[in-house]
């Protein structure tokens, strides 16, 4: 079993001139980077970390824009044998104070030794860290050592063992940043070997990705897998894609892209927001697998996407599905590669009331479920009842998995690790059911909202909204409601207020939007202000999110 550094070393020796990735940034020439260039650029960072006294096995947090700097610094940290973790960069919307407190909460748990960022951002990092932090070095990107000769023997990364932790992945928000998923070299390679076999990944494939690298889908499928396995990668900026989704399709056309991964909302977003005049010359016939992944997948979104882009060469057989999570490195299941994605028409009421996926009957409301496919060869999936007993086919329970590519643990969070892994099985917090080997995901046990592929913890948003003057502390609830049109969840906040004055209500509602967006980079779709005692609490005084969501939906006529 190799390590990351050994794998890069082989590419450096065997195919130095092969293009590892092509970086597409708006307003610049496309930039092909060979393995030699990638490793030389990374080696400069390796020497920088050595100069700064960072030791192999220590954690380095990368706070950089989606850029070449980020790519080189990431691989340089790997070559050094240190453990990289990418923290999303501060966006213009996000309030610096909030960003600082998020960073501080990450640092307090993860206890990294170093942070790599830009010179102009370093003061922000120093302020966030305060005194007594674990961080001994804040390294700025322009102080990187010059690119020079590459001497693998000097790299700490060659001393790492397959079972050592190679990287950490954090999800966003205060809660997510306090749970870093720690993955070993071995786990990552076990995933890549099984996943690439499942995908029939070949050297003539081309992976095209616009996904952010701080998320497992972008990091594993759209960055590490292609580079480690020598499959050409074309990479775009997520910030540019969201403003011009056609860029993905243009990149697939130009580079004859074969595989991409998209969260469900992207199917709707591409289908609805791209104009015909922007599609001139677009040819998607090379796309053999577009995998819907990282938020609940919808049959309607696939239909929409196919109808819109079939005239541009998109094949129905290219529509694939994938159920994935950082805790399993990435993919748990994959559908649509060897056979079309399976669909399951089930009785809507039986699912909601009895928690059973009963085949639809004529004349009764039905729901088309999309299979996430069978588990990868090295992954077992079970559906569990609340006592941890396996459930039969078509009964909805919590999905649990066991594999040889699971997380080592949540970094410095033995409590969270113990809670999630029982008897070697990772409890996903997702509900689902099985039909034979096909896995269907059907909602979430955990109180999490997935908006645009991003995991959001409602308590983070509720705490922000409670800061607004006029809102009752402790009397706020946040939840997600699926928006058919957007193909993702809308975030709703319901808050109790005393006032009935319209101008004051407008002020409170605007301030809640502002404070939540600037505190979490999540835009609220609805702010619903209600009178005192509206919210339903549990007997222990906690907010019952599900019950409040139902009440809200009835009140606004959605249910």
């Amino acid at each position: 079993m190799p390590t990351f550094t050994e794998t890069l070393q082989r590419s450096y020796i065997e195919c130095p001139e092969k293009v590892a990735l092509t970086v597409l940034l708006h307003g610049r020439e496309d930039q092909p980077i060979t393995y030699r260039e990638l490793i030389r650029g990374a080696a400069a960072w390796e020497r920088t970390l050595k100069r700064e006294g960072v030791q192999p096995g220590e954690v380095v947090i990368l706070i950089l824009q989606h850029s070449l700097d980020l790519i080189y610094a990431y691989w340089g940290t790997i070559l050094h044998g240190a453990i990289p973790s990418i923290m999303p960069f501060l966006t213009e919307k996000l309030l610096p104070e909030r960003y600082r407190s998020d960073l501080a909460s990450l640092v307090s748990i993860t206890r990294p030794e170093a942070v790599i960022t830009y010179r102009e951002f370093a003061p922000e990092v120093h302020t966030a860290l305060g005194s007594g932090s674990s961080v001994r070095r804040v390294i700025v990107s322009d102080e990187v050592e010059p690119v020079g000769e590459v001497d693998f023997a000097a790299f700490g990364g060659l001393q790492r063992k397959p079972e050592d932790i190679v990287l950490l992945q954090h999800s966003s928000g205060t809660t997510g940043l306090q749970k870093g998923v720690a993955l070993s070299h071995q786990a990552v390679f076990n995933q890549l070997q099984n996943y690439s076999n499942t995908l029939h990944l070949a050297p003539d494939d081309v992976i095209v990705s616009w996904l952010p690298l701080y998320h497992d889908m972008g990091l594993i499928a759209g960055f590490l897998m292609p580079i480690l396995l020598r499959v050409p990668l074309v990479i775009l900026s997520p910030f540019e894609w969201v403003r011009a989704p056609v860029r993905l399709l243009q990149a697939v056309t130009k580079y004859r892209g074969t595989l991409s991964w998209l969260p469900n909302f992207a199917y709707n977003f591409c289908a609805k927001k791209i104009r015909d005049h922007d599609l001139v010359g677009v040819n998607l016939s090379s796309w053999r697998a577009v995998s819907n992944c990282s938020e609940p997948m919808r049959y309607e979104s696939h239909v929409l996407f196919l109808q819109r882009f079939a005239p541009y060469g998109l094949k129905a057989s290219a529509l694939c599905t994938c159920y994935a999570m950082a805790e399993n490195v990435f993919a748990v299941t994959q559908g649509g590669i060897d056979a079309p994605v399976e669909l399951d028409d089930i009785d809507r009421e039986a699912m909601q009331v009895e928690r059973v996926a009963r085949p639809a009957q004529p004349g009764r409301p039905a729901l088309t479920m999309v299979s996430a496919g069978p588990p990868l060869p090295n992954v077992q999936v079970k559906v569990m009842d609340e006592h941890g007993n396996p459930l039969p086919d078509r009964v909805i329970g919590e999905l649990a998995l066991h594999s040889d590519c699971m997380l080592t643990g949540y970094y410095h969070r033995d409590d969270a690790t113990r809670k999630a892994i029982k008897d070697g099985w990772y409890y996903t917090g997702d509900y689902g059911y099985k039909v034979g080997e096909q896995v269907y995901v059907a909602g979430r046990k955990k109180d999490m909202i997935i908006v645009g592929g991003k995991n959001v913890y409602p308590m983070d948003l509720e705490e922000l909204a409670m800061e607004v003057k006029g809102v009752h502390p402790g009397r706020v609830v946040a939840f997600g409601i699926f928006n058919e049109d957007a193909g993702t969840e809308d975030v709703v906040i319901v808050a109790e207020v005393e006032t009935q004055d319209q101008a004051e209500l407008n002020r409170i509602s605007d301030e809640i939007r502002a404070v939540v967006t600037r505190g979490s980079a999540i835009a609220l779709r609805h702010v619903h202000l209600v009178g005192p005692k509206w919210l339903i609490k549990t007997s222990s005084g906690k907010t019952a999110r599900g019950a409040n969501k139902e009440k809200y939906m009835k009140e606004v006529g959605l249910a």
């Binding site: 213009e92 919307k93 969201v242 403003r243 977003f269 645009g452 605007d510 939007r513 967006t517 835009a523």
Partner: protein
């Protein structure tokens, strides 16, 4: 200042983005930096502007440096249409 255009843009945002059709937005109220209009809604807004006023906003312009208020957006549209 084109008050009709400002009113029309404001009504579009109130109805489609904020889901508060009765809201009246002031011409100088920050929309992007305040978190009211996010990047996904900006793409919709650009399509609305293109359909309604036949003015194209490039994707690189969809940020608060280009416009943050209804008045600024209306001024931009007028300058382009002229």
């Amino acid at each position: 200042m084109n008050t009709d255009m400002i009113q029309q843009l404001g009504a579009y945002i109130a109805t489609n983005v904020l889901k508060q059709p009765n809201r009246v937005l002031s011409p100088d109220q920050p929309l992007i930096t305040s978190g009211m209009v996010d990047s996904f809604s900006l793409v919709d807004l650009a399509l609305f502007v293109e359909d309604t006023y036949h003015v194209h906003l490039d994707d690189s312009e969809l940020n608060s440096d280009t416009f943050d208020t209804l008045a600024q957006l209306a001024a931009l549209i007028e300058a382009r249409a002229a």
